[in-house]
Symmetry: C2
Subunit: 334 residues, 2 copies
Amino acid sequence: MTNPVLVEVLRGAVVESGHRGAVSVFDADGKPVWELGDTARPVFPRSAVKAIQALPLVESGAADAYGFGDRELALACASHSGQPAHAELADAMLAKAGLDRTALECGAHWPMDHDATVALARTGGVPNPLHNNCSGKHAGFLCTCVHTGIAHRGYVKAGHAFQELVRDAMQAVTGAAHDVDHCGTDGCSIPTYAVPLKNFALGFARMATGAGFEPVRAKAAKRLFSACMAEPFLVAGTGRADVALMQAAPGRIFVKTGAEGVYCAAVPELGLGIALKCDDGAGRAAEAMTAAVLAKLLRADEALAAKLIEQANPAIESRIGAKVGSLRPTAALS
Amino acid sequence: MTNPVLVEVLRGAVVESGHRGAVSVFDADGKPVWELGDTARPVFPRSAVKAIQALPLVESGAADAYGFGDRELALACASHSGQPAHAELADAMLAKAGLDRTALECGAHWPMDHDATVALARTGGVPNPLHNNCSGKHAGFLCTCVHTGIAHRGYVKAGHAFQELVRDAMQAVTGAAHDVDHCGTDGCSIPTYAVPLKNFALGFARMATGAGFEPVRAKAAKRLFSACMAEPFLVAGTGRADVALMQAAPGRIFVKTGAEGVYCAAVPELGLGIALKCDDGAGRAAEAMTAAVLAKLLRADEALAAKLIEQANPAIESRIGAKVGSLRPTAALS
């Protein structure tokens, strides 16, 4: 099936581009609440499932052993912008386990945040693995390995004992088999498994409610969600959509972006999980789709819905800062 | 109508994302040679038509008066990467007309080339309008104004005498009315008009052949095309697709990218013009589509076609440089 156009890009009065996608909203009992497009198609969740991938960090007792609070747990679930606060905290997490940045196998890249890149260059610096947007997740992985006695070398590889722990958590939470035929490699070198989009919606409803989880998992999921909602800057960075969306209603909205236009989200008070993917992989469209879906689900709170609708319609500016267009969710999302 | 998927994005063995689009190939007599998708839909050409927008620079005699050769004319048609050679040449062009960067109304942004941004930051620099990817086009605009006695202030605005000159050229070359209802503002503040995609294919066939043009225009078009094909680095920059495509067959392929997934191109030896747009605006997909279309049109030259097919299937790498996926044109393009 052909997914519907969910976001249009306007320049002046003309639709310049359009983004198709699929959206799935589930409750924790496995009931689909809202489905748009083909939600059965296998999708790589990429970084959108970092909160699930962080479950072993909490469940193993590693987080407690190293004294991790909201800040560290938020960073473990982050695709951060590589700003100094992010890189320094990832470094501090590694130090708690007696490691340093040389243990990270995620690779290095310049900070996602442009000002951070300029500042790093100004001081003659070069990026190291701590600036990688996934360094907090990897620091959490390494801390878990050290705490549980798993030899950490090669921890990014499919089949490594630690990645099998992560895969077990992913399968249990989403209810979908993660098989080798649907395995790809993420930008930070860990395996990512394509499963039906709707399974991520179900998984995030479970994460938000704990429904169907053993008490240890339910508590760990709640703790990770609370941490991200308390420290959204550490989950993303300056000017990022995830920060704006979680700050729109502190403690009431969880969102997490993934590469190639994926979002996973949850509204704990409604017991709902959300997963969406923009067909073409565009982050700008996935952000607008997520804001529009949240506005619809939370429409009973009119002030909040208005704020979210504004975030679903971001302006496009010229190089002198004049508004020349905007993104606009289509009727399918309203 | 729904445009076909023209490029898929693979990660491992799984299709992660897909890009739809439309392609139009015309000869200079107005005969469609190959059409895919909805080529009648109005599309903003953005920067893909800079060679047409540079016609007044040559036709007015300004280029000759200021002694502009291939390098300056290539930069006038460029969306350059803001590397030192680009910024310095734009500055030199302005100086020929007695102007400097303060006359540019395009706005400033950090160089598109990441290494150039880092180098600028390292020396404590900040971007100025010369680093704007459109500064060469704007320098050409300003030189034309000064040479022809048009007061240049406000030269970016729709309705300004200079923009009317550009609009006249655009209408004559494409054969499509450029009306106010389909006018948007480009990132560099000049007007851009949405007209049917197929009219750009026709226009670029005419630019490549001079068919139907007065001798002055035919000569100017040929000179601009020759300049771009002789100096592809100045049209784009290090590592850019436009450079690779034009260098694949020096003097035989003209290509120019535009924002939001547009490409205009021509194969002078075949007398053909090409215009395409990726529906969702993705540059990565538009590049692959352009390479695939050129490979098909030039398939008689097997070595060249093989090189172009390679460019149509670029690798996707992880942060440690491992190949984890690739783009792949679909059967519709082969």
